[in-house]
Subunit: 272 residues, 2 copies
């Protein structure tokens, strides 16, 4: 099911700046057992992203109403809901006089099926060669310029590798191609800063809150590959996968640790 500006449709104009320049933002929301998980957090990030990019998105009430229609129409227990907002249609050229009405797209997808043991037994990661470029202005925003992630994710097709680790040009670990990354070292939960590169994940923010509330020290700071290798626990997270413990990155082996399991459990409870 796809709604474009409230109407059932499956195409957008060639003139849409989303296609022309990747000029927009998106959100990927887990819909499970009738509940769109962390919906408010996703909508807040969507609006923040629009504001950062100076996209005058004044159609949030329409979007909310359309989302309700989409929720009602979902017949399966779970689904993925992707919301895209672009700056709208435009003539040729980068300049926009902002008279365009942003395009809002709501699309539903079937929930991906990952091996069951990913959640409990953990996953294998690799390091990607494709780097994430540094741009303070764009860092954190879930915008539509995703070529780096596309190139990184297409470096491997081995289904035994669940995710790839992306670093910036200086070798600092930033995130996975589709996930944020956390490590536990000396009982401190560490996740890379996303002030220069990377996406401010909704689940990442939830995990930081959960840990802080539970008395676990959380540090957002630079993370080197060496520190990643020496960590006691590693996990990756996003809205769809939740939390996957990492048990292997190339030749480094990790156990599924206590803090990872605690975060998994707390996150599940929060969703209820």
């Amino acid at each position: 099911m796809v709604l474009i500006n409230g109407k059932s449709a499956d195409t957008v104009s060639v003139s849409d700046r989303g296609l022309q320049y990747g000029d927009g933002v998106f959100e990927t929301i887990a819909y499970r057992d009738g509940v769109p998980e962390f919906l408010e957090q996703h909508l807040t990030r969507l609006l923040n992203g629009c504001q950062s990019l100076h996209i005058n998105f004044g159609q949030i009430d329409f979007l909310r109403a359309e989302l309700e229609d989409v929720f009602k129409a979902i017949s399966s227990e779970s689904a993925v809901i992707k919301i895209t907002v672009t700056r709208g249609m435009g003539s040729r050229g980068y300049f926009s006089d902002n008279s365009a009405i942003p395009t809002r797209i709501i699309a539903t997808y079937s929930y991906p099926i990952y091996p069951e043991n990913y959640q409990s037994g953990g996953v294998t990661l690799r390091f990607c060669e494709q780097t994430l470029s540094v741009n303070r202005r764009l860092a954190g925003i879930k915008h539509l310029n995703r070529l780096e992630q596309v190139l990184a994710r297409n470096e491997w097709s081995d289904p035994a590798i669940a995710e790839g680790v992306m670093s910036d040009d200086e070798g600092s670990v930033i995130e996975g191609t589709m996930s944020n990354i956390f490590v536990v070292a000396d009982n401190v939960l560490v996740t890379p800063l996303i002030s220069q590169a990377g996406i401010a994940g909704v689940i990442r923010a939830q995990i930081i809150q959960i840990a802080t509330r539970s008395g676990i020290t959380v540090e957002e700071r630079a993370l080197s590959r060496e520190q990643l290798a020496q960590a006691a626990e590693v996990f990756v997270c996003n809205s769809i996968i939740g939390v996957w413990p990492v048990t292997r990155i190339t030749t480094t082996i990790y156990s599924v640790g206590f803090i990872t399991q605690f975060i998994q459990k707390s996150l599940s409870e929060l969703k209820k």
Copy 2:
């Protein structure tokens, strides 16, 4: 006029990876007096871009035939032809098994009308705050991830400013929002390296060739704002504007110089 995969159409699928991730490349070609200028150079760059992004674009013969149809259909003396090639439609997620057939879009636009004295009398530039991020893998490619240019170009709306200068994070001048930049200093023609950021412009390459053939020393190297301020001549170029002498950047004034005029003249002759 818009042809999508050879058919007259004006929409693309919501599932197109061009829209989803900016996963594609584009070319903007000047069509003047019945001639698509530097067509082969544009098509070569398009193919190189696809190859760099691992887009299996095997439809070049179709594209050429469709371009011929488009040329025939153009009734005005001049037009802008934009070719876009995306990785094609895909399911959700960054991974692509490359079974998708790339989407090819040919769209024509009316030729933009710039003030007549831009060519002879020169233009005013500003410095953009939005930086260009460094990514060796993506540098040079005219891909669809253009948020940086969008944000830079939307920093000003004053029609007296024709273009904005973009720098990387370290302050090195790279290019304009829609153009490449050249300076003349000590009779050497200097243009920034585009191995880390920036687009390998078709006209940029033509100018380097013209200058080299004419015995003008050309250097592709880092260019600081100070060096830009101290230059004897400055000009910007792209396929649509040709060469615009720069006579002012913020408070720095330049004359329209001899080498700039020589390049303009040589480029015009080359097009004939």
